[in-house]
């Protein structure tokens, strides 16, 4: 009579399952270590800095007295630089991605451009700072200004925007493109009526991820000569005497949050270190908020697309 092979199979299966358990445990450990370290760092920052997060902290200029010092000029500077960064990176990045995906002939020049775009994402940010110092500050004479910083960071996040946009464009099914072409749409009509709207979730995500990287950047902004101590705001358009032009703020000197933080950290008085921790919280929360918005936008737009 044939023997049942049940018991033999069960030992093999048990052995196979053991690996599931081992790999699963290692994976869990790896994940928790990463998350825990981040959490600890954040909690440490919060413990050090939370008591400085008063309205005054946001409304005061930096000062020699740590308890009176605030981040007004830094967060306004960061916000304005982000505006310029977005206005630089979005049109350039989206246009480049559309060109590469939809218009570029498939030849070696296109391939060369593609390889370069991917590699640009790996260039250290300080190199962008050096490039900007030469190009924007010395050659174009844009000064150590918000405009220079925005253009620099815009170029720095350009690859992120391009890659995200291209991926979003590629995710659109061929059938949808063909449906539009089959109705007599031109390439531009297909791009503007269909591809860009359907890719917008991915584009927003790329832009926001890029901006959340840019907002924490210090090296390139120092390289182009942002100030470390600044006690005035850029001119508000049409105010002051004589009234400022609508774009004068672009040429204003400025500082940004991470530079302010760095500046305070390098002081000997520990009271300034508390300010630095508080600034760190602001930067992290701003970054998390942006990523949250990106996730929310993407899921909202995704829910309308079924593919």
């Amino acid at each position: 009579m044939a023997e049942t092979q049940g018991p033999r199979l069960r030992t093999i299966i048990a052995r196979n399952h053991r690996w599931d358990l081992i790999i699963g445990t290692i994976g869990l450990l790896a994940t928790t270590v990463g998350v825990l370290v981040l959490m600890l760092l954040f909690v440490d920052l919060v413990i050090d800095g939370w008591q400085r997060l008063t309205p005054d902290f946001f409304l005061n200029f930096p000062s020699r007295r740590p308890e009176e010092a605030g981040i007004l000029s830094a967060w306004v500077g960061s916000a304005l630089v982000m505006v310029v960064t977005a206005f630089t990176a979005v049109p350039l990045g989206v246009a480049a991605a559309i060109y590469l995906e939809e218009y570029a002939p498939k030849n070696w020049i296109t391939e060369l451009i593609e390889i370069n775009v991917t590699n640009l994402a790996a260039v250290p940010s300080i190199i962008y700072g050096l490039l900007a110092l030469g190009l924007f500050v010395y050659i174009l004479g844009l000064g150590h200004s918000i405009l220079t910083a925005g253009l620099t960071l815009g170029l720095m996040i350009l690859p992120i925007v391009i890659v995200a946009t291209r991926e979003a464009l590629r995710a659109i099914p061929v059938a949808i493109r063909e449906a539009a072409y089959a109705l007599g749409a031109t390439r531009w009509q297909v791009v503007s009526d269909h591809l860009v709207p359907y890719a917008s979730g991915g584009i927003y995500t790329g832009v926001i991820i890029g901006l959340s990287r840019a907002i924490g950047e210090t090296a390139p902004v120092i390289t182009i000569g942002a100030l470390t101590f600044i006690a005035f705001l850029p001119p508000i358009p049409f105010t002051g005497d004589p009234p400022a032009g609508p774009f004068d703020w672009l040429f204003s000197p400025f500082t940004v949050l991470p530079i302010q933080m760095f500046n305070w950290l390098s002081r000997p008085q520990t009271a300034f270190h508390v300010n630095a921790a508080a600034t760190g919280i602001v930067i992290i929360v701003a970054t998390l908020l942006m990523n949250g918005i990106a996730i929310w936008l993407r899921s909202r737009i995704r829910s309308k697309l079924k593919w």
Binding site: A175, E178, A180, Y181, L183, A185, K306
Partner: protein, 268 residues
Amino acid sequence: MNQPKTLDDNAAMVTETLKAETRKFNFFYGDNQALKNVDLPVAERRVTALIGPSGCGKSTLLRSFNRMHDLYPGNRYEGEIRLYPDDVNLVSPEVDPIEIRMRISMVFQKPNPFPKTIFENVAYGLMVRGEKRRSVLEEKVEEALRGAALWEEVKDRLDDLAFNLSGGQQQRLCIARALASDPEIILFDEPTSALDPIATASIEELIAEIKEKVTILIVTHNMQQAARISDYTAFMYLGELVEFGRTDELFVRPRKKQTEDYITGRFG
């Protein structure tokens, strides 16, 4: 009726006016020849079905009629597809594919509505022609949706997303979208292969109605469907048009052995 001079004088087998006709038509995907010397007449306001085993070139031939192949590099047409009454060769490089696609619309294998509203889907063909007047759009959209037997089901939710419709409704929406700009020919590429039998029956009914106004060229891998809905049938095999004839004759008295084998289910 004209007497066919030879077994292969396909055009002579059509008694009605021709809407289009391929002549010694070849097609190449790069170096790969997918169509060989195809002579296919397309009778005006009739249904012409393309049948044949998978990979024989039905879709390739269909997509030549609206120059879909122009969208991809390396594709090449050879020979002619004449479009009447203009009597132009629609695959000639001098003819703008955009014009051809405006005159010859297409319904695809899987329903492919845009992720837009029902209204926007149907109106899109008119919008690419620059039609912006709301009243004209509304009138045309209703007419097209009625033509696609979908109006009653969607008239109260024209601003809903098209994705919320069932598969069969989506395919009728795609037909409405193709109808909205008054095309001269509609190309159907296996329009019911993704649908259940009930939705399939309604699409077949619809095709019978549409042909009163529009010339129809349809690919189907379902021979019963070809027999039910078409007036003419072309049997293709390995990129060649093996046999063309009136549907009632081709299915009853095929003249070629290959056709007979295929329709009796001996291969394919």
